[in-house]
C-alpha cells in the first residue's frame, strides 16, 4: 500500500515538475485561435512569389447571425500575404493575424488560374505534409484569381468558403462537375498516366452583386492545367469514371424534347490488347425516368419506350464522345484508361506506359450503352384536352 502511494506520489510530482518546466505546448484557446476555412493560392504580382489568401472566420460575428438576421460586419476576414512557399506565406500572416493560423478546419483550396496552368504540384506539397490539413479538403480551380472567388459574398451562408464547399458538393445533383478532394487529386497526381481534374469555378459579376458558379471542370496534364471541359463534356467524363449520381438528360424526340432523370448509372471499363492494338471497352448501364415532356403525345407505350431508350443511348454516347475527343485532343488521360490497362496487363504495361502519350490520342474506345427507362412519374399521359389526342 505504502509503495503504491509512493509511486503515485512520484508520478504526480514529476508531472507537476514537467508542467512547470515546459508549460503547455500545443495549448491554444478557442477564442484566440484564427480558424482558417478556405485557402486561395495565386501568383503574386512579383511573379516569383506565391500569394496566399486565408479566409478566417470571425466567431463573434457568426454568433450575431444566430440571434438577429443582420449581424454587424462580415463573418470572415480574408488575409493575404506573399511568400516564396505556401508555408512561408502562411507564417507571414502572423504579422497581421493574432495568432498562428489554424488550418485543420480548412475546407477548400482554391487554386488560381495562373498557378494551375504553371503547375500545382509544388504548391500542394505543403498540404500533403502538414499534420493539420485533412485529406477531405476540396480543391477547386478558379477561372481567374482565387482572391476573387474567396471575396465573393455568398447569399445563403455567411462564409464564402462554406458556400463554395456546398456548391462543390451539390454538383452531384446535376453531375456536370464533381467534387474533388485533396486525396483524389493526390492519387491522380501520383499516377503515371491518369491526369487530374478539378471543378472550375468562376465568379459572375453583376453591377452590384456577384455570385459563384461552377462551370465544368479543369483538366490537367501532369500537374499543369491544359484546358477545361464544359458542362456536357464533364458529364461525359463522369459517365466513364462512374461518378454520375443524378442529373437531367434532355433528349430530342419526335421534334419535341423529353427530359429524363438519371436514377442509376454504372460503368465497366475493360481494356483489351490484341497484337499492337489497344481497345478500351466502356460499358454503361443506366436507368432513367421520364420527368418532363413537351409533346402532347402519350409516350407511355412500348414502342415509344424502345425509341426513347435508343435516343437516350445516343445522348449519353455523344456526351462521352465529346469528352473523349477533348481529352484525346489535349492528350490527357482523364479517364484513367492507362491505369485500367495497368491493372489487367501488368507485363505489357511497362512498354505501354512509356509510350502512353503516343498511344492515348489514337486509342480506340468502344462505347456500349444499355439504358432503361423505369417510370413515367406520377402520370402516364400528359394532361391535354381529350379531343387533341
Amino acid at each position: 500500500m505504502k509503495k503504491r502511494m509512493i509511486i503515485l506520489f512520484k508520478i504526480l510530482i514529476s508531472t507537476v515538475i514537467l508542467f512547470n518546466l515546459t508549460g503547455c505546448w500545443n495549448a491554444n484557446e478557442l477564442n484566440t485561435l484564427p480558424i482558417v476555412v478556405g485557402i486561395g493560392i495565386d501568383k503574386a504580382p512579383s511573379d516569383e512569389e506565391v500569394q496566399v489568401v486565408a479566409q478566417i472566420i470571425k466567431p463573434q460575428e457568426l454568433q450575431g447571425s444566430l440571434g438577429s438576421s443582420d449581424g454587424g460586419g462580415e463573418a470572415y476576414w480574408n488575409l493575404t500575404s506573399t511568400g516564396e512557399t505556401i508555408f512561408d506565406a502562411i507564417r507571414e500572416m502572423t504579422h497581421e493575424s493574432s495568432g498562428r493560423l489554424y488550418t485543420a478546419h480548412n475546407q477548400i483550396i482554391v487554386i488560381g488560374n495562373k498557378i494551375a496552368s504553371e503547375g500545382v504540384q509544388k504548391y500542394l506539397d505543403f498540404f500533403m505534409r502538414a499534420h493539420e490539413t485533412r485529406p477531405n479538403t476540396l480543391i477547386v480551380i478558379s477561372s481567374n484569381t482565387s482572391t476573387e472567388i474567396l471575396d465573393t459574398k455568398p447569399e445563403l451562408t455567411r462564409i464564402p468558403a462554406e458556400s463554395i464547399t456546398r456548391l462543390s458538393e451539390a454538383q452531384e445533383i446535376q453531375s456536370h462537375s464533381k467534387k474533388v478532394t485533396f486525396q483524389d487529386f493526390t492519387n491522380y497526381l501520383m499516377s503515371k498516366t491518369t491526369s487530374p481534374v478539378a471543378p472550375l469555378i468562376t465568379s459572375l459579376k453583376d453591377k452590384e452583386t456577384s455570385t459563384l458558379k461552377i462551370e465544368g471542370m479543369a483538366i490537367f496534364k501532369g500537374d499543369q492545367m491544359v484546358g477545361q471541359l464544359d458542362e456536357s463534356e464533364s458529364r461525359g467524363l463522369l459517365w466513364v469514371t462512374g461518378d454520375i449520381k443524378t442529373g437531367a438528360l434532355v433528349v430530342p424526340y419526335k421534334n419535341e424534347v423529353v427530359t429524363l432523370e438519371i436514377i442509376n448509372a454504372k460503368r465497366k471499363i475493360t481494356p483489351k490488347i490484341q497484337g499492337d492494338n489497344i481497345y478500351i471497352h466502356v460499358e454503361i448501364k443506366e436507368e432513367g425516368k421520364i420527368v418532363e415532356q413537351t409533346s402532347k403525345e402519350n409516350l407511355a407505350t412500348l414502342q415509344d419506350f424502345e425509341e426513347l431508350k435508343k435516343v437516350q443511348n445516343e445522348a449519353i454516347k455523344s456526351e462521352i464522345l465529346s469528352a473523349l475527343n477533348k481529352a484525346q485532343e489535349l492528350n490527357t488521360d482523364i479517364f484513367g484508361f492507362g491505369e485500367e490497362i495497368h491493372k489487367k496487363y501488368k507485363e505489357e504495361w511497362k512498354e505501354i506506359s512509356s509510350n502512353w502519350d503516343k498511344i492515348f490520342p489514337s486509342i480506340e474506345v468502344e462505347i456500349e450503352i444499355q439504358s432503361s427507362i423505369d417510370s413515367t412519374g406520377k402520370i402516364s399521359h400528359p394532361a391535354v384536352p381529350q379531343s387533341l389526342e
Binding site: I6, K10, S14, I17, L21
Partner: protein, 70 residues
C-alpha cells in the same frame, strides 16, 4: 535542467537503496547501483548535449562489414 535530473535520480536512490539494504539483498543492490550509474551518466550526458553514440549505429557498422543488409 541538470539539477532537476540529478535531483530526480537522488530521490530514486534515497527511496530504493535503504529498502534494499534493509532487505539485505546485496546482489540486488549491486545490480541496482550498476544500472543506476549507467542511467545517471547517460542522462547527464544527454542533458548536457553531449553526443552519445547510438548503439544501433555500431551494429549497422558490423552489418556493413559483413555485407548483411538490403
Amino acid at each position: 535542467m541538470i539539477i532537476l535530473v540529478v535531483s530526480i535520480y537522488i530521490i530514486i536512490a534515497l527511496y530504493q537503496v535503504p529498502n534494499l539494504i534493509k532487505r539485505e539483498c546485496m546482489r540486488d543492490l549491486s545490480a541496482f547501483c550498476f544500472f543506476y550509474t549507467i542511467a545517471l551518466v547517460l542522462s547527464i550526458l544527454y542533458v548536457l548535449d553531449v553526443k552519445i553514440p547510438s548503439p544501433i549505429s555500431g551494429m549497422e557498422l558490423i552489418l556493413d562489414k559483413l555485407q548483411l543488409h538490403y
